[in-house]
Structures are given as structure tokens and as C-alpha cells.
Symmetry: D3
Subunit: 261 residues, 6 copies
């Protein structure tokens, strides 16, 4: 009986991997974090999201486009969450090295295209640097963050603030099947360190500035947003839309001829 | 006769610096790049912008808020422009180390707040990582990019695409006094490596994806945008608006009590 | 309903982690690899073993000793397996940094003792270096490899060679529930690059030398050993014995007063 | 109207740089420092000198030898000056990386010869290491310090001690147009940490030893030397002589066929 | 008169080295430590052993196999001995870099095979990582520790515990000619940090665990073992047996055709 | 019987080192190279010189000033000699790390002053950087090169050129007891890559420039200078004078109270 998830690198033997790598040259690396997500969501929320999105996208694409999904990178760059117990943070350099090593290893086996399924904004700078290194080594690379792919729908579906463990994130994680301590959810608008200029939400209108911060400057609970309004059905719809758009994009990416570069 | 720009660290003697540092604890580090900006703008366009914005902001704030402006960091992270002659790129790690060293040196003399005046998007990941290190060493830090501070006005004033050496950037650089080879300006809409999914402009509607790229995937001239429509008067107005908003923000930042952190 | 595995850091909210960290100061980090294990075992065999042993040990200890199990490190140092498709290798330095970052993060939340549950021999040098750094930062640290803990029983239970994806490893992984492609199992004694001096087995009698090698110097299939003789029942017994001994040791370690150091 | 300084990389567009790079393969990188220079000279004195010498040399050479002058590296390795306010120091490693990155970028565009115009002795070890790396990458490299090039004339023109912000340096900087707070100039012979063995001057007769030091071991004012005797006319003559010698040398260097190496 | 030790790289001129390198492609790098060895043995005991074994092996092989012996690496990775005066420790990274640099330099001159004669267990992780890097650069590499090569004879000849500056090591060092302060020798069984699980000896039966440690957790004198029973005659016999086995192995290694890899 | 060289750290037991460290806080680290020295001098010439000077100085000072001499660093930074067989080069970074690690280890045992006895000019940049790091960690540090200490006498005693394996160096090494293949000595004036500007000697009059170079640009034999004129008696006198001056200096250094810094 074949694996229920035929795209999982982890569960292939090497001859199976070898065979699959004659059919495809694209791999998805899910990258999350181990960081506080308020009193209702577990520390692995980002990791869980990254993995679920990677699985859903690969499932949808299979067998038309046979992407490979590598093992999850469970840890991310989360220094701003360290005041909250249980958070683990990598130095940015560590995540860079980790993703570069994974990418270069895959390239040796014939992978030519890397999709990093990233679910933690704090990882973005390190991933940008890592992927540039991989690009310079000949790989086509992209990082994808679900909330950016569906930013239009997010704004239609959920009220601000959009920040962390908020209505949007709680809904999506819940919709994806994450453990949610429902009674622990809180609504917390988020303090503003400099009123009017450091708004506690994504998609804020200018002028908005982003000083480096610890989460404790904005919140005591770890949540910024209205987790009580979270709705798994809405989350599922948003997740579904994100998957759809990613699938459409990766189909085109898979067809690119990167040899011409 | 005192210097015409009393905020320039470069032109102070150490006793002057010492005296000023009893009155202020905030410094602006301008960070640019040395990278191609199409056939009409010189390689130092980002560096020039960063310096001009830093000067303008410091001038406006003085003497109410006495910010210090450090010497320009002329080089940035520009690997994607390397196919164009004259471009110089730092590895991301080099820029991180450079900004960290500058920041830690300033901190030893009493600076507690760092504003990085960044005019090159390619620097953002490295600067994020550098500033986090400085934050962890006790500094309050922020990076500011003029086009983000006035994104609303940019969209009202200039037509898309907004990308590189375009109508917006040519106007602003020109308005700030940059050398512009007017007859060399070109309009170039920018190719799309994956049609519909990798749009050659900022502020694109979702779904939009950002694969790692070399500029040559989008343009042959180095310009993406309509430089022929550039207007220095409009550029000056936008720059003025950006300065005004930065000034208002830095005034508030200067008043923060970071010791409580 | 509480999590079925109450020791999983990943599935705790931060207030849960905080509460648990008032009761315990010991954490288990499972570290595996993503590397070929012959034609019958998947690439995640080491990772799977590390996680299963960590879970079994933590389960047995709970609630007498409440150890925390962190998310799995799925990737290890496997350059010698790179000729086989699908293998991913980290540079030793990357694994060092990764484990150091995890350890230092845990220490900030009150963890004082780290058990690395390592199931891949190739990780040992990097882990030794990482754990020394953590020790120098004040942590008590140990790495545990199941086959060393029960080397006596292994020698009684299985025939040599003991090397990779062999009778011993296939039995234990199988006994732990790993996917095994039974019909694909092979017996492969392993070539000897220098006859009589580089024996293809652990526990070889002196004189035995260990030159640096790629697995292809010893095997074409990726297996060295007799995987066809593998028996999940035997594997389960060995695993059970290893868990028992680890549990006894960790109980004592948990009781150590490391403050006196 | 062409730029008044046709050798400035900063002010070229990329097509201009491309055209120039078909005519020349030599570039000058000015490297200075941001460090205290006593009560009369500003913090940018070394940077100012480096830039002025680079400009003067390039001007003199043009158009016979078309050297390119890159943007200034304003920061250097100045830990020994850190006790004086306003000083910024890079770690040696940072300056190494910075110069290597600049050099390798230039090499990609066809530059084959690098002249580092260095005006700060504290940079020398880092620059030596950086230039060796560039040499190993195929570049011809040299670092030039003006006071070494005219050491004979310096000894004839100025009295010792020759150390920092002294008669020699104040004269030359002044002669080059640097801001000088004339009334603030001081004469300070410099203490000797170990009398007779650690003389506070260059060109000291043996036995002379050079322990690592902070400037505060030698001076309270930041000056070591007789700045009151400084004479901009003498400085101008020395600078002129240095430029002349550098020009003669670079002419020959430009004619070298480095391909034979 | 030729050198009495014709294999010493240090004492060759470069033309002699060049000539020899046409006849051989194998080199021995002795690596020791500078660390406490109890009250009877000097700090260079490991270094002395490494050098003596290298010399003895090379002498025995010459001229049948002309191995080159490089200068001694006197320093090793000894953080666990730092509580004892005089110990010098390298960071693991430093030893890695050092051995890599030596190996790559040798490779440039035609060396294809590296034998690291290591006499300090604490060096093993760093050496493993260094040699893997050299292997990846095309070299055949092996590290050899004398006590492992004759583990069978050690167990027959000396009583446990086998740990540090014990009967075994004192005998062998003495037999090789090391300075021994005979009257200072002590017998010290070694404490067990976790009784029954962290036995103070090599070759302990399972279950045995190896937490990271400082030597002071096991001993106050620096000795763990029975140095008073040491016997130089026995030590000489063991050393002789180790040399014999190494010689036999290196003869075969020298005959390997590594080009086929 | 006490060691004939009571200052050798290598030959002390740890209690002996501990006792000595209550009487002194100064240590000498000899640093050499393993690099070609022409056809007459062995590859260890610099290392041999460093060790001999360290021994001679320590002997002369004992017991008035009890300096400690650490084990020799046999390898240095010699990339420019790599075209000659047998040369081993460290990257500058490796030597920096090595010396820093040694220095920090000594500091933990009470050493407060470090004298690096360096006999290879190519090491100077790396040593400068290493010693600055140690200085910043609280140590007093100096590097000493014998030819600089007696530059006046060298110029009186030997004819130019002074460069490498020349009359001066051959004489001194010979005078110190180095193996010299007398019949192999050569006189080689040294080519000048840029005639009149890159003179093949130390102490050249300005204008003199020092491009980065490989020795092969100056010499085919590896010698630059007149080795045939070498005279061990003269060498001995120069060495003696250098030792005398070093001894006088170190006596004063030993008396410094570095705690006041």
C-alpha cells in the first residue's frame, strides 16, 4: 500500500525518491516556528500551518504536478516572542544555514525549484537571504506566506487588527485542525508604543513605522487581535482560497524552463 | 563658523560630539546602495536619496530634536542588479555586520536610538537582522523607507508600475537634486516571469508571488516603470511629505523613555 | 481534553508551558536525519526513531518526572549518504548552531537539563560540540543513542554486521512502527575498503580503523547488514529495554542539583 | 554636461560604467575612518584624506589612465580611539568582508586591479587580509598610505612626533581643505607607557615595541604631536608630492599585464 | 648528512619536499593537547604521545612507504580540563579550521592521504568534522587513536579504570620517554556523577551515559585511574603493538588508488 | 631533577603551573610558519627562530622575571609561498582564532600579559587582530619580531636586500643552530614587478609600494637576498643583541600594573 501522502520525502525509500526525481524537479519546504500564540493556540501553530498548507497544496497538485514535500522545519526566528514561556528562537543565521543546506542537498538530487511554505513573518528576512544564496547556486526559489496570497480576502473576511493569534490566524489554524483552547481565547487590541505611528496591525495606512519590538510592548497575553471572534469555517474558506492560488502558481512555476537562466 | 549641517557626525571634533551627546541620544544612519538605476540615473541614486532624506529630516528637527547623522553607508545588498555594469553588492552578512558595528559603537557613546534611513529595498532583510541584534543589545531601532511612509501619496501621484528607476523614483531623486540624464530616460513596463503572478510593481493585488530574481528577468534597460513621465516637482512634493511624516515620528521617538524596557 | 502526549512542547500554549516549567527543568530534544536507509526503510528512519524513543521515554516518566519533549530536528549530518537520492545533509556547523539555539532558548525559560535523543551516528561530533557550548552556558547536557545504551543486548540478539539499515536497525524501526517495504529488504555484508582493517560493523575487534567514507565505498544498496533477518518483535524488545534504561537514568538526572556546579 | 569628476563610479549610469570598463581595468577604493582626531580636526579626517587623495590621483591620471574611484568607505578599524566620543569602529572582520565584497563585485564587471587608498593605519591589518583574498581570486591589489609614500619628505618637513592629529596630519588635512578648528589645536608630546621602549612616534629608532594600546594610554586630548605648528601650505606640498608619486606608480601598474600570472 | 628523521616536513628544504612528494602522497599530522594530566605527567603528554607515535610509525615505514610527518599541532580541545592550571583549550571550530588549512595546503603539493595521529579523545569530534571537509575536497583521511587500536591489549594488560592519566596512559607515556614525576603519581578511582550510569572508565558495560562534564566532577587531582601501578615496560609493549598495527594499516592505505573515487 | 627549561609550559604538571602562576603573570607564545626558505634553509626556519628566541629570552630573564613559554605555533599565514612545495598556510582567520584561544585560556589561569614572539612577517596582520581581541578581553599584549628590534644593527651588519632567506635571515637562523644546507645557498637579487617602485627589500626608501604578491613574482629559488654571504657568527651577534633588547623590554613590561587600565 502506497503512502497516503505520496509527496512526503520523509516516507520514501531512496529508490522511490530517485524514481520520483526523474518525474519532477520541484520541492516544498515547510518552515514554521515554535513560538507563543496567546493563551488559546499552541506553540506549534506556525509549524502546523506551514505543514498543513504544504500538504494541501501538494495533494491538490498530485499527480499532475508531483511536488516533493520535505520534512518540516519546526523552528524559526522568534526573538520578539521570547518573553513568553516555551518560545524557541533561532538566530537568523542559523535558519539561513539550515535552509541553504536543505536546498543544496535537494539540488544534488535534481531539484531545481524550491518553494518555501513559510507561516511566520519573523522568518522572512532570513529566508530571503537563504533563498538568494540558493538562487545564486542555480535554483529557482520562492517563499510563500498564506496571508499575503489572500490579503484581499482576509480584509473582506476578518476585522482588524491583523497581527498575531488574532481572529484571522485563529480562524485559519482552527480551520486547518489545530488544537484550540476555545475558552482561553482573548480579544486584545494591542498597545501602540508610539500612538498613531506604530499601529498594531498589518495593512495599516501610512504613515506607519515598524520599530524593532518585543511582543510585550504590544500585549500581555501574547494575542494582538480579536481571537474570540475566530470562526473555523471562515478560516477553512480562507485556507482553501490560499491553497487554490498557490496551486495555480506552482503549476506555472513547475512548467518554467529554468535552464535558460 | 559652525558647520552648516550641525548634525553631521563626520564634521564634529570629538569634544563637539561629546557635548552634543549630552543633549541627544538619537542617531540616523543613512544606508543606500551602489547599483544600476537604468540609463538615466547614476549608480549612487539610493545612496543619494538616503543621504538627502537624512539631511532633510535632521535639518527640520534641529534644534528641537538634535539628531546625529552618521556617515553614509554607500554600499548595499544588490545581487539582483549585478548583471548591470558598475553595480557593487555586499553579501547580506557584510551589511549586517557593518550596521551592527556602527550601532554598537554609537551605543558606547550614549546613543540609545537608531534610525536607519534606508533607500534600497534589497537591504531590508539584512537591516532587519542587524537591527534586531542592536535591539537585543539594548538599543531602540527602526528602519525607514521613504516610499513606504508615503505609499498613499505615491499611489495618488504616480501611475504604476512602481519598481525601479520608475516614474516615482526618478521624480523623487530628481526632486532631491540627483543628476538625471533626461534624454536617456526610458519607459519599460517590465516583463513578467510568470504572467499574472509575478507582477512588475509594488502594491500589486493578490495573488502575487515574489520569486528570487535577477533584474534581467524583468528588464533589459535596468528600468522597470515609466521614467519618461518623471517630474521633479512632483518628486519634491512627495519627498517633502515623507520628510514631514518622518519628522513627526522621530520627534515622538526621541521622547520615548527606552530605559523602562 | 488534555493532549494525549502532555510532554509535547509543540502542543502547549505558553501559559501551559509556563506552568509546566515550574514543575520541571528537563527537556528532551529528538534529533534524527533525512537520509537513505536502503531499499526497505524510508528516509526518515532516524528521525522516526528519535521521536519514538523520546515519546516512549517521556510517557514512561510522566508524571513522576515531567520531561518536556521539543519538536523534532528532522535533519542531520549525512554527507556520506548523499550519493543516495533524497538524502539531505546539514553541514556540521549548522546542526551545532541549531541545537545551541534550541538549548539556549529553553534555558531562558528555566530548563536546566537537556537530553538529546540522537538516533544518527553521523550527528555525534556536531552534537558533542553543541552540547559543550550549552554546558559552558550553564546547562547539564547529555546525548543518548539507543544502540549504545543496549549494546550488550544488541550483540546477544542480532548477528553482525551492525552498520546501517541492518538487522538491528530494521528490527527496531519496525518494532517502533516504521513503514517497512518488506519485500525490498536486502542482505548485504558490506565491502571492506581495506580488507581486515576497515570492517563494516560496529563492535569490531581491534585493530580497526575508521577512514572517512561515503556509503558507496561499502554498499550499492544503501544497506550494510542483513535486513532480511529483521524481526519487529525482537526490535520491540530491544527498544523496550533501551527505554527502560533511559528512563532509569533520566530519573536520576532529573534529581541532580546542577546549581552546585 | 559631463560630471566634473568623470572617474566617480557613484555618478555614472550603468551604460556609462560599462563603456568606461572597456577602456580601463583599474579602480581606486578610498578607505578612511570615523574616529577622533583631537580637538581641532573632525571625526572624518581620515575619510576626507582618503577621498581627496583618490580624487587628486584620478584627476591627474585622467584621461591618460582612466581609473575608476568607488564610493568612500567611511568607517574603519578604530577600537583604540573608542574612549573618545563619536568614534565608530568596525571589527576587523567587517572591514575585511566589506572590501572583499566591493572588490569581487568590481571584478565581475572587468576590473582587474584594485588600489586601496587607505588613510588610517589601524585599517592596515584588515586591508592586508582582504586584499590577499582578492589576490587569490585573481585581482592585482595594492594598498597605499600617503605618509609612507612620502616618509622621506615628511621627515624633512615636519618635526616628530608623528603619530595622530599631529603637525604632519593636521597640515596635510588642512592643505587638502579639511575643516580645522584652529584655536583648538594642541601640542601634546604623548606619554610613553614604557619609557624608552614605546615611543609615541612613527619612524622611531630601535629598540621600539608596539604593544596594543588605547589612545588614552598616550594622550588625553586625542592628539599626539604638535598640531599648533601645523601649516596648510606645507601640508599641500606634501600631499602634492604624494599624489605625484602615486600617479607615477599607478601609471605603471595600469600597464601591467596581470593575465600572465 | 641527512636528517636522522627523513620524514620530517619541518626539516626539509622545499626542493627536498618537492622531491619526496614525487615518491609519496601520504602525510601524518600529529595532534595533541596542552592539558593537565594529573600531578605526575606534564601538560604536553598528549602532544608528546602524538609526536612519538607519528615518529615511530614513520620510521618503521621508511623507506618502504615514505610518509611525511608534519609539525605537531600542540593544542587541542580541552574545555573540561580548564579548571586545572596551565590547560589551554581551543574552541572546536579553531581546531577544525587549523586541520583543514593544513590538509588543504598539503593537498596543493600532491598529498592525497592524511593520517591524523590523535592522542586526545576531546579532539575527536572536531577532527571528524575537519576530516570530512578534507574528504569532500578529495582527500583520503583517517584519524587514529592509539588506545583504540590496541583496546584488546589494553584490557589484558592494565586494570580499569581507563580514563585520564591512569595506569594505561602513564605507562605508555613513560614508555615513550615522557617526563614522569614518579613520586607524585596518585591512584584515584574517580567519582561518579550519577552512580551506576556514568562510570569513570572507557569500555564500561551498558547502560552507560556520557553527560558533558568538567574533570572536576570526577577528580580533584586530575587523575582518574591508578597511576601508581604504571609500568613503563608495559607501556612500551603496548606502544610497540599499536605502532605495529598502524604500520600494517598505513602500508595498505598507501597502496590505495584514491583516484577512482 | 627540574627541567632544564623551567619556563616551558609543556613540561610542567598542572600543580607546577599553578605554583608558577602565583609568581608571574606573563607568557611568551612563539609563532612561526611552515614555509619555504629557499634551497638552503628548512621549512621550519621561522618556527625554529621563534622558539629559539623565546627560549633565549626566557632563560635570560629567569628567575628574576619568570616568564612562561607556551608550546610553539608551528604554522603561519604563508599564502605567498604556496607555489613552493611543502609550504603550509593557514587562513588569517585561523591564526587569529588560534592565538585568541591560547590567550584566553592563559588568562583564565591568571596570565595578564602576552608576548607573541613572531618570526614571520606574513603573520603580522592576523596577530595584530588577534592581540586586539585579547586586549579588549583585558590582556596586555605585544608582538615582537626580532628583525625590527635590531633593524639598526641589521642595516650595519648585512647588505641589502633584506627579504627572505637572505644574508640576514640565513645568518641568524644559522647562528641559532638551524640546519643549513650550505652548498645549496644562492644569491638572488629578486625581480621587481614594477621597476623602481616595488623594491625587493625591507627598509627601501620611498616611494615604495607593496602590492600583494606571490613569491614567484620575485624569485624562482625562494630566496631573495644573498644567502651565500651568510655568516653564523654575525647572525649570533645579531640574535644576541635582539635578545638583550627584548629582555630589557619584557622586564619593564612585567613590572607594569595593568590593573589600572
Amino acid at each position: 500500500m502506497p503512502s497516503a501522502k505520496p509527496f512526503l520525502l520523509a516516507k520514501m525509500t531512496w529508490p522511490e525518491a530517485k524514481a520520483l526525481l526523474t518525474e519532477t524537479d520541484i520541492a516544498i519546504i515547510p518552515v514554521g516556528s515554535t513560538e507563543q500564540h496567546g493563551p488559546a493556540l499552541p506553540l506549534d501553530t506556525d509549524a502546523f500551518e506551514a505543514e498543513q498548507f504544504a500538504y494541501a497544496v501538494a495533494e491538490r497538485l498530485w499527480p499532475k504536478v508531483k511536488t516533493i514535500v520535505t520534512p518540516l522545519v519546526s523552528y524559526g526566528v522568534s526573538p520578539h516572542h521570547m518573553p513568553f514561556a516555551g518560545t524557541v528562537t533561532l538566530r537568523a543565521e542559523t535558519l539561513i544555514d539550515l535552509v541553504v543546506d536543505i536546498g543544496l542537498s535537494l539540488a544534488k538530487h535534481g531539484v531545481k525549484k524550491i518553494v518555501v511554505m513559510n507561516s511566520h513573518g519573523g522568518n522572512t528576512p532570513a529566508l530571503s537571504i537563504a533563498l538568494r544564496r540558493l538562487y545564486d547556486a542555480g535554483l529557482w526559489c520562492v517563499q510563500v506566506a498564506w496571508w499575503e496570497i489572500v490579503a484581499d480576502l482576509v480584509k473582506q473576511t476578518f476585522a482588524p487588527p491583523y497581527f498575531h493569534a488574532d481572529e484571522m490566524e485563529t480562524s485559519v489554524a482552527w480551520g486547518l485542525g489545530q488544537r484550540v483552547l476555545q475558552e482561553k481565547r482573548v480579544d486584545e487590541p494591542g498597545r501602540e508604543p508610539i500612538a498613531g505611528y506604530t499601529r498594531a496591525t498589518m495593512f495599516a495606512e501610512p504613515p506607519n513605522f515598524s520599530p524593532v519590538f518585543d511582543m510585550t510592548e504590544y500585549t500581555d497575553s501574547g494575542t494582538i487581535g480579536n481571537a474570540r471572534r475566530a470562526d473555523p469555517a471562515k478560516g477553512k474558506r480562507i485556507a482553501e482560497a490560499a491553497v487554490e492560488r498557490m496551486v495555480a502558481f506552482i503549476e506555472k512555476a513547475a512548467a518554467l524552463d529554468t535552464a535558460k537562466r
